[in-house]
Subunit: 140 residues, 2 copies
DNA sequence: AAAAAATCTGCAACTCAGTTGCAAATTCTG
DNA sequence: CAGAATTTGCAACTGAGTTGCAGATTTTTT
């Protein structure tokens, strides 16, 4: 039960100082292969080895977020969407475009807006998130 | 039972083609006086004349959003935050800064980031939303 | 100023994403 | 491998937001 993907996941967990458990390996692998942020239930559906309790998925995501491996990309219709903390700079995650027609979200990994300059001093910006809405090529 | 504020609210509803009801007038007035986006329960607390059922508040907000008077600014801890659709350009709302320490949100009404340029053609951007996280002057 | 038509409101019950407590299972440490 | 530390699954719970529907309000028509 080994593969390059799985080994990378194992290493990430080890480096992060997290217990290397089956659920965490499985979820990390799902996220590593995802093209867009996923909800808890979507992650669950993509698990191949065995099903996981949703509580486990949520708690795993929480752990992965805590160590910086995963980001909560955005919320859509009250549900959280999670993705690997990749293609993000120190203070800014890549933007996401969601089509209001078909609902599909696209990661704009090659776009980076300038960081907002807050005139009023004293503000410390830790993260800037950009969200775009509109019509995707298929729906426009 | 009249006031400049109330009259403005009444006019806004009339222009939007919505029935001019007591709940709508009251909620609009609360939003007109708010310095930051509010949750349903926060709006309810600020009502002075009489209490409204939360269903009414939600449905009123929905109506106001539909006609473009109100925006759902962002979601925080699974709750929606609403504000008057003011200080927004055609394709971009003003950014919001939320302090991760004290939880207070600030409207950055004087900041405007450039609209993202999506290389891949065919995308139609209808709205760009920017959200900032960090420490406010009081907490930094 | 009715009366009729159109729309809104409140209530109660419901949905559904996410959380909590706790016992059992797994992983790490020495 | 034993013991300590941590994680997992289950069941029950939370809380924001939604739905159906009867009765109330607002607007439009006579
Ligand atoms: Mn992404
Ligand atoms: Mn605002
Ligand atoms: Zn689309
Ligand atoms: Zn603060």
């Amino acid at each position: 039960m080994t593969s390059p993907l799985r080994d990378r996941a194992r290493q990430m967990l080890k480096d992060a100082g997290l217990y290397c458990t089956e659920p965490r390996l499985a979820i990390l692998q799902v996220l590593m292969q995802a093209a867009r942020p996923l909800r808890q239930d979507q992650i669950g559906e993509k698990l191949t080895l065995r099903a996981l309790n949703k509580v486990t998925v949520y708690r795993t995501l929480e752990s992965l977020i805590e160590v910086g491996l995963v980001h909560r990309a955005f919320t859509y219709r009250r549900a959280g969407y999670f993705e690997l903390a990749d293609h993000c700079t120190e203070h800014q995650c890549h933007p996401h475009f969601t089509c209001t027609q078909c609902g599909v979200t696209h990661c704009l990994t090659d776009i980076l807006l300038p960081l907002a300059k807050i005139a009023q001093k004293g503000f410390v910006i830790n993260r800037q998130q950009v969200r775009l809405e509109g019509l995707c090529p298929a729906c426009a």
